[in-house]
Symmetry: C2
Amino acid sequence: MKKKIGKKRQITLSDIAATVGVAPMTVSRVLNQNGYVSDETRDKVLSVAKEMNYRRNGLARNLKRQRTETIGLVLGDISNPYSTELARAVRQAATANDYNLFICISEHSAEEDIAAFESLTSHSVDGLIVATRANDAGDEYLKSIVENNVPVVVIGRDFYHENIDYISADNLAGGFEATQHLVDLGHRRIGFIGAAFDQETKLKRLQGYFNALEKHGIEIDERLVTGRREVRSGVPGYSTEEIGYEGMKRLLSLPKRPTAVFARNDFTAIGAMTAIKEASLRIPQDVAIIGFDDIPLASHMSPSLSTVRQPMRLQGQIAAELLLKRIESESFPEREERILNCELIIRESTVSRKS
Amino acid sequence: MKKKIGKKRQITLSDIAATVGVAPMTVSRVLNQNGYVSDETRDKVLSVAKEMNYRRNGLARNLKRQRTETIGLVLGDISNPYSTELARAVRQAATANDYNLFICISEHSAEEDIAAFESLTSHSVDGLIVATRANDAGDEYLKSIVENNVPVVVIGRDFYHENIDYISADNLAGGFEATQHLVDLGHRRIGFIGAAFDQETKLKRLQGYFNALEKHGIEIDERLVTGRREVRSGVPGYSTEEIGYEGMKRLLSLPKRPTAVFARNDFTAIGAMTAIKEASLRIPQDVAIIGFDDIPLASHMSPSLSTVRQPMRLQGQIAAELLLKRIESESFPEREERILNCELIIRESTVSRKS
DNA sequence: TGTTAAAAAGTTAACGATAACACATCCGCA
DNA sequence: TGCGGATGTGTTATCGTTAACTTTTTAACA
């Protein structure tokens, strides 16, 4: 059974104006609190507006004003605390500067990446923060957006453009430190979980791992690097518990298994830990493991997870600041690039507790 | 140093029209692929559009068309896998039906709740899915939105309105089952972590706990119910690892500590587990613990965490479906209410492994 | 060859809001 | 008395697009 038929027309400024007996412009002035309006008129307008349940039409308003006071954030894997912390920080900065934040998710492919850019820019967001992984089609599209003078800032996305600011954690140094830490503990056979050996050549964390091994004269063993092969071309996925679990199983079944493992991120590490425990091996005595990100749960694992902390909030905050600067600047600011330091967090999964 | 001064005007349909030598309407027809256009004109328009890097102005378009093909989703705690799974499901359904999805976060307060509603509705989203916790001011505002004929669906938000569909997991039954499970294992002193005793009286999971105790003639002990008191009025926060950790410490320090604990959600449970381990007590022999949600990590904890699984994706999917139905209906569909079953997942944190 | 319909455009008028300007009053002070 | 500024309000045009209508051209067939 249906209730009423037909949806009513939305209430406009003119409706209020007609009811009160003034010009629409006067109503606009009242509602935007600018220009001169007598107290009497103001009160009347406000009460009528409330009575008619008026809600301003942002489309019309923004069209006329040529700005939306809204910024867009494109996230890849939204399940990742990295993304969510980023989002929170961006939101906070946006709110503090009276900007709204719209978030779009682009999960798997370049098409989704582009769809997200498209839907945000076509809604005329004042600026865009992009935190998805690089892919050719998306990069191409981003470029065309920027060349349409939409301010853009990228976070952790490997993409250079003269008018795009770049922010990232220092994944290269982080990957290096994590591996170095394992080497310092005496490990020589060190695995990497989270990326296929011959793919993701741009993955900085993996490069850091290679660099550290090289520095210490440890030969790189292809079999020790494992991860699910990306099925789709386009945007690479993110590594999960499941991938960590599977990857660890593979590593453990090697003739000469690694004595330590560096996982691409904490989720991957947690999955790997499960596999190690299932094999009745001890962490860290039999296999040491270190993750990346320092998600809140890392310290609650048992054993607690060593990891590399990256400044998640800070990245979001800086991104928002740079974006707002771009938005509010009349001209084109010089490109800024910020690579933020990571911090090695040593816990029980690499060094057994002494007490 | 600045690069160029002044931002160029955006390219419009008329610009293309002028260049090609046709009317703007013809260009519009080409770009929207409707109406008759000769192949020759089409090609010319498309090539000029591409050359000029034309990007349509969605504000103007949507204003004229009176719809945006966009839906809004308001989330509370974005860090929670519950929220993120919801978002993914909603996005999937939206995309499949050619709708965009904008997500807004409302973290702490009624004001933020309202700001999110405001920014989405003022952008004229075609409909709104709300998954934040109920609060008076927000409810009031929601009501006014609905009465402006914006389709709304709420998920897990305790709020009744004739024209708003309601979706939720059966938290009451879930809380009951979790507690019942502990009782079945022989526990009589069962704690609850995640809500203050005298607050959150509407919290269904807590009510389920009370109901189960009552059913088995176990007296409710106020001291066994613990959680951080909400500082702000307005939107209640969510329970976290930290709260679980603190809460468990309090429970363990009681003269007669509980032998089992039901945590409001898995994060809280995980925090509680850390506190239990720190006290050198065994799980589940000394203290059994069960959570709620079944986040992916629950099975990776050690011991693995018993919990109540709620259908996260399904809630999002149904919400999207109901919303799209409302959007596409000319009239007002009858209100729908869907309470989805939860599932008890028994793991090692309540029943020790036999093998 | 004329009639009619389909195809390919163009014209007009909004969508709802506001910037920019114009026009009244009113007040104070030289 | 008059002049300038503050105050209050109205008018006009426009943001960029498209729905609805009109006009012109082409094709099709009796």
